[in-house]
C-alpha cells in the first residue's frame, strides 16, 4: 500500500515561501513524476514527503496515517538520491543489507533478499566491492537495490539519472519503468527532464515556483495543456508560440503549435520562411525556420530525411485541428 496525500502543505525557508499551500494525491501503485525547471520546488516537495524537510504547515498522509510529525526512518519509504548516497565504507552487500540490518531481519532472510535484488539488478559479481570501485550506473543500481529490499510502501527518486551519461540514462529509465510494472509499488520520481516524465509516468505533476500547474497523464498534458507554461514544458522540441494577427485569426492572444504538427509542403503553404539550422537525424529532420513574420523562429519536424538546407525557402502548413489557443493570461481556451 502506498497512497500519499498532501493536504494544504506549505514550506518556507526563513521568510521565503517556496511551496504555497498545495494539495496533491498520489494513488497506490501510481508512478508519479514531479517535473519542472530548476528551483520549482519539486525536490523540496519530495523531501517533505520523505520527512527530510519539515512542513511549515499542512499535513502529509500516507495510507490514511498522518505522518507529518513522524521521522523519515518511520515513514516506510525508500529513497534513491541523485548522488547515489551509498555508504562508501561498506561493500555493496553491506550497503544493500543495511536497511534490513537496521530493521532487525535475520541473516538468512537478509541473504535471500540481497541475492534476489542482486540478481534482478545484475550486481551479483560486484557484491564484495566497495562503491568507489563501481561505475556510476552500477552505483545507482546498488542504491536501487538498497531501496528495494526494504519493501517500502513507496519509492522516492530524486533525479536519479542526472549523473549518468545519456546512453546509460535511457537504459536505467527502462529498468526503473520495468521495475514499476513488476512491483506495482507507488513511485514518486523527480526530474527536470520532460522526456523522462513523459516516458515513465502514469501521472505527471508539473510544478513552477512551488505551484502545481497541472496534474494528469502524459498524453493529457500533451494534448490539452492547461496553460502556456505546461504547453511549453511538455513536448520536445518545444511547442511554437505565435502572437499577433495570426493568433487573432483564431480568437486567441497566443496560439501554440507543436513542431510535429506543422507539415512541410512543396508549394501553397500557409506560412513561408527560410531554413536556418536543419538537423538531419535520419528518422526525422528538424528545421529552425526564420522570416515567417510569425515568431522569431519556428521549429518544424518533418518525418524522414527532407533534403532542404540552410537558406532554402520552406513552405509550411499547420494542422489546424492540433492548434492550441491561449487567452491573455496564458490559459487554455477550450
Amino acid at each position: 500500500m502506498g497512497r500519499i496525500v498532501l493536504e494544504k502543505v506549505t514550506k518556507s525557508f526563513g521568510d521565503v515561501q517556496v511551496i504555497p499551500p498545495l494539495d496533491l494525491t498520489i494513488e497506490d501503485g501510481e508512478f508519479a513524476v514531479f517535473v519542472g525547471p530548476s528551483g520549482c520546488g519539486k525536490s523540496t516537495l519530495l523531501r517533505l514527503i520523505a520527512g527530510l524537510e519539515d512542513t511549515t504547515s499542512g499535513k502529509v498522509v500516507i495510507d490514511g496515517e498522518d505522518v507529518t510529525e513522524v521521522s523519515p526512518s518511520k515513514r516506510g519509504l525508500s529513497m534513491v538520491f541523485q548522488t547515489y548516497a551509498l555508504y562508501p565504507h561498506m561493500t555493496v552487500r553491506k550497503n544493500i543489507a543495511f536497511p534490513m540490518r537496521m530493521a532487525g531481519l535475520s541473516e538468512a532472510e537478509q541473504e535471500k533478499k540481497i541475492k534476489a535484488a542482486a540478481d534482478s539488478l545484475n550486481l551479483t559479481d560486484y557484491l564484495d566491492r566497495k562503491p568507489g570501485q563501481l561505475s556510476g550506473g552500477q552505483r545507482q543500481r546498488v542504491a536501487i537495490g538498497r531501496a528495494i529490499v526494504r519493501d517500502p510502501s513507496a519509492f522516492l527518486f530524486d533525479e536519479p539519472l542526472s549523473n549518468l551519461d545519456a546512453a546509460l540514462r535511457v537504459g536505467m529509465r527502462l529498468e526503473i519503468t520495468e521495475m514499476h510494472e513488476r512491483m506495482k509499488t507507488t513511485m514518486i520520481y523527480v526530474t527536470h527532464d520532460q522526456v523522462e516524465a513523459m516516458t515513465m509516468a502514469n501521472k505527471i505533476v508539473v510544478l513552477q515556483a512551488g505551484v502545481i500547474e497541472q496534474v494528469g497523464s502524459p498524453i493529457d498534458l500533451y494534448n490539452a495543456p492547461k496553460n502556456i507554461f505546461v504547453a511549453g514544458f511538455i513536448g520536445s522540441p518545444k511547442m511554437n508560440f505565435i502572437e499577433g494577427a495570426e493568433a487573432a485569426k483564431h480568437d486567441a492572444k497566443t496560439i501554440g503549435i507543436r513542431p510535429e504538427h506543422i507539415d512541410v509542403v512543396e508549394d501553397g503553404g500557409a506560412w513561408v520562411g527560410t531554413v536556418g539550422v536543419a538537423e538531419h537525424l535520419g528518422s526525422d529532420t528538424f528545421f529552425h525556420v526564420h522570416g515567417t513574420g510569425l515568431a522569431e523562429t519556428l521549429t518544424v519536424r518533418a518525418v524522414g530525411n527532407v533534403a532542404l538546407k540552410h537558406g532554402d525557402k520552406i513552405e509550411l502548413t499547420p494542422r489546424l485541428s492540433e492548434l492550441h489557443r491561449f487567452d491573455g493570461e496564458g490559459l487554455r481556451i477550450a
Binding site: A50, G51, L52, S71, P72, S73, K74, L77, S78, M79, F81, Q82, T83, A85, L86, Y87, P88, H89, F98, P99, M102, A103, R146, R150, L156
Partner: protein, 277 residues
C-alpha cells in the same frame, strides 16, 4: 622547458635546505635537553662539556627513586585519556548536530566556543581555586579531567565540525531513510566515515591535555599531579639543577614525542585541516 625545469629544481633544493635548517633549529633545544639529562648537575653548566662528557643515568635513577616519576606519569595518562574520551563523547554529537542540522545560530555558537579560548586563564584562577577547594574537588583526577576536557572542547568541536562538513549530507539522509535513528547514524555512518578526522582530533586533544601546565600545576598538589607538575616541582629554590630538570623534562615529553612520531600522518592531517580539500 629546460629553464623551467631547472629553476623548479633549484627551488626544490633551496626549499629542502630551508626546511632542514628550520627543523634543526626547532629540534636543537630538545636535543640539548636530552643531552643535558645524561650529565651531572655540575657538568651541565660547564660549556666545555657541551658535547663531550661522561654520560650518567644518575638523574634518571634519582627521578624514579626520589620523585615518584611513575605516579606523575600515571596521572598524566589517566587525565589525558579520560579528558580526550569525554571531549569526544560530547564533541561528536555536538559537531554532528551543527554540521547536519544547522540552525541560524550555529555559526554564532561556533564563534562563541572559540571566543572562550581568548579569555586569559589567569582571570579565573582565583574563583577556580576557591570554588574547587570549597567543593572538595581540588587535587582530584575528576577535576583535572573536567578542566582538561572543557579547555579542549572548543578545538575538538571545531575540528570535528570541519571533518563532518565534508561528508555529503545525502549519506546521512540515506541513513535516515534506511530506518536508522540518530545514535545509529552516528555509530554506523558518521564515525566510520570520519574515522581519520576523529583520530586526528583525539590525538591533538590528547597532546594538548598532556602538555597542559597552567591548570594542572595550580589545581593539584600530589594526588592528581601530572608530569607538568613534576617539572615545575624541580624548579628548586636553591638554584636550577639542569641535569635533573632535563631528565624530568625528557621523561615528561618522551611518551608524547614517541606517540606523535608514530601518528605523524594523522597529526599533519589534523593540523592542516581545512587548508587543502
Amino acid at each position: 622547458m629546460a629553464i623551467v625545469a631547472q629553476s623548479s629544481k633549484t627551488g626544490q633544493v633551496s626549499r629542502a635546505t630551508l626546511a632542514w635548517i628550520v627543523g634543526l633549529l626547532f629540534f636543537f633545544p630538545i636535543f640539548w635537553m636530552v643531552l643535558t639529562s645524561f650529565k651531572t648537575d655540575a657538568d651541565a653548566v660547564k660549556p666545555e662539556f657541551l658535547f663531550f662528557f661522561t654520560p650518567t643515568l644518575e638523574n634518571y635513577l634519582n627521578m624514579t627513586e626520589n620523585y615518584d616519576y611513575w605516579r606523575f606519569a600515571r596521572n598524566s595518562v589517566i587525565t589525558a585519556v579520560f579528558a580526550t574520551v569525554f571531549a569526544l563523547a560530547v564533541g561528536i554529537p555536538c559537531a554532528y548536530a551543527m554540521a547536519f542540522n544547522p540552525s541560524r545560530g550555529t555559526k554564532d555558537v561556533l564563534m562563541w566556543m572559540l571566543s572562550t579560548k581568548m579569555l586569559p586563564a589567569a582571570a579565573v584562577l582565583y574563583p577556580m581555586t576557591f570554588l574547587t577547594k570549597s567543593m572538595g574537588l581540588f587535587d582530584t583526577h575528576f577535576l583535572i579531567i573536567v578542566v582538561l576536557m572543557l579547555i579542549n572542547l572548543p578545538i575538538v568541536v571545531w575540528m570535528l565540525f570541519t571533518y563532518f562538513k565534508e561528508i555529503p549530507k545525502e549519506i546521512i539522509e540515506a541513513g535516515q531513510m534506511d530506518g536508522v535513528n540518530t545514535w545509529g547514524e552516528i555509530k554506523e555512518i558518521l564515525i566510520p566515515l570520519a574515522w581519520g578526522g576523529i583520530a586526528s582530533t583525539a590525538l591533538l586533544c590528547f597532546i594538548f591535555c598532556w602538555n597542559e601546565a597552567y591548570w594542572t600545576v595550580r589545581l593539584t598538589t600530589t594526588d592528581a599531579a601530572t608530569l607538568s607538575k613534576l617539572i615545575e616541582g624541580n624548579r628548586a629554590p636553591e638554584g636550577l639543577f639542569f641535569g635533573r630538570l632535563s631528565a624530568v623534562s625528557t621523561a615528561a615529553v618522551g611518551p608524547i614525542v614517541v606517540l606523535g612520531w608514530f601518528c605523524q600522518k594523522q597529526l599533519v592531517a589534523g593540523l592542516t585541516f581545512g587548508a587543502v580539500k
